[in-house]
Amino acid sequence: MMDIEYILWLRQMKRYFRSRSRVLGAIGQPILFLLALGYGIGSVYKKAGQGNYLEFLVPGIIIQTLLFSGVFWGIQILFDKRFGFLKEMLVAPVPRVRILLGNALGGATISLMQAVLVFIISIFLGFRMENWAFLPLSFLLMVVLSVTLCSFGAGLASIVEDFQGFQGINNFLIFPLFFLSSALYPLTNVPDWLRILSEINPLSYAVDGLRYTMIHQSHFGLGKDLLVMAVALILAMYFAVSRFNRIQA
């Protein structure tokens, strides 16, 4: 029975929809990126003979949405830590894994909804899939990545002691992951050092995979993308479960 996972998932959903500012706040940043970069850099990009920048950018911004909302969801665990609801869950006669799973599924659902919203908005801005038959595959990649990132966020939150610590993680881990992921620029003409950093960044493969399913452009090849994503998913889940099992109050 999934009753425990369901009720914890439901709690996350209710929490989310009851604070609408959070919904707007979460998609505000990606939309800003889409508009400012899509139109601002788009014209230069086109002049340089690279084609339509908005199309290149959309998969990257969708990944950005998943990345930030997944990790912000991790911050919520910090809130739970500080403000207590986590304790209520931790003393319950339920395996920690199920507590983590219910919560992480809630977090993943929320970030997926946000990513889908960004996708829909990008269509209004003129984005077109290369082949709409690939849409289910795009969605699947988004699901996998959102679960990966929420697990990662949960693991981080169970390590970090306070909000200041989480700020550091944001600045030294999350932003670098995003900016070095090929979300914003193609890896074809970048300097070697940047290319190497991007190639060891697992998020690059998610961006690349999603970009392939959406506009048929790929740097690594879909097979490699899927492989890296699968390994990252397993590692992130292992990380989260092992950290969560060790939380003591």
Binding site: G84, K87, E88, P93, R246
Partner: protein, 269 residues
């Protein structure tokens, strides 16, 4: 563990790095007793409660709740108690009813009984009329009452109350202790609580233990403690036993949750 004791601690030690937060304590609480656990900040109260409620593993020693070993039979031990935490552990964006519902599911209350049980408990603490209000809109006293109701959901044998009246006004404090005494009598429930208000402990507790520097330095009824220290009130007895120096609050007063990493920093809790 004697047959009628429901909580038992034997030679329990908890160290964080070099610091002994709890230093070889032993005590028993009998079925139906109202037991006060007192001590200055940093004395080891919260660490003891955390260990009793399965959130922290003792370094050594044995803790039993309702005849279940707290570290080995964790889930059985967990089903034996309800707890009202020092900091509210409610979900503010859910209604009182929804908070109760989450608890019912987590504790495996059969689906058919959930509704009735929640109604019964919310009526007990006079919150039934407000069952559909978000907890965010609740006052401090209402939250405490809701937490007590929630803690009782699964018919626990023991109710832990960690400074349950902190920050509440006198009326609410009185009301809360009325509930607790009523429960203890009607259901034979054992109550284990901590407080800094010694008048409460004196009025409510059947027995009192005082912990300081990780050791239990006295146990007995309020009268026994007064007699032992040749004082008249529990407060005087307490000051006699624990001294009058103000304690460093950084240790126990800090209530953030810790993972083991924090313990490596030798942070005392």
């Amino acid at each position: 563990m004697s047959s009628n004791s429901v909580i038992s601690a034997r030679n329990v030690v908890k160290t964080f790095g070099d610091i002994k937060a709890v230093d070889d304590i032993s005590f028993e609480v009998k079925v139906g007793e109202i037991f006060a656990f007192l001590g200055p900040n940093g004395a080891g109260k919260s660490t003891t409660i955390s260990m009793l409620t399965t959130m922290l593993r003792p370094t050594s020693g044995k803790l039993m709740l309702n005849n279940h070993d707290v570290t080995r039979e964790q889930d059985k031990a967990r089903k034996s108690f309800g707890i009202v935490f020092q900091d509210p552990a409610l979900e503010e964006e859910l209604t009182a009813y929804e908070n109760m519902k989450v608890h019912a599911v987590l504790y495996g209350i059969p689906k058919n009984d959930q509704e009735q049980r929640i109604e019964e408990l919310l009526k007990l603490v006079d919150l039934w009329e407000r069952k559909n209000s978000l907890v965010r809109t609740y006052s401090g006293g209402m939250r405490r009452r809701l937490e007590i109701a929630r803690g009782l959901m699964h018919h626990p044998k023991i109710l832990f109350l960690d400074e349950p009246t902190l920050g509440l006004d006198t009326q609410t404090r009185n009301l809360l202790w009325d509930y607790v005494e009523k429960l203890s009598k009607s259901e034979g429930m054992t109550i284990f609580f901590t407080t800094h208000y010694l008048d409460e402990a004196e009025a409510v507790a059947d027995r009192i233990a005082i912990i300081d520097h990780g050791k239990i330095i006295a146990t007995g009824t309020a009268k026994e403690l007064a007699r032992q220290t040749k004082t008249k009130k529990l407060e005087d007895a307490y000051l006699e036993l624990t001294g009058r120096t103000v304690r460093d609050e950084t240790s126990e007063a800090n209530n953030g949750l810790n993972v083991r990493g924090a313990q490596r920093n030798s942070r005392l809790r």
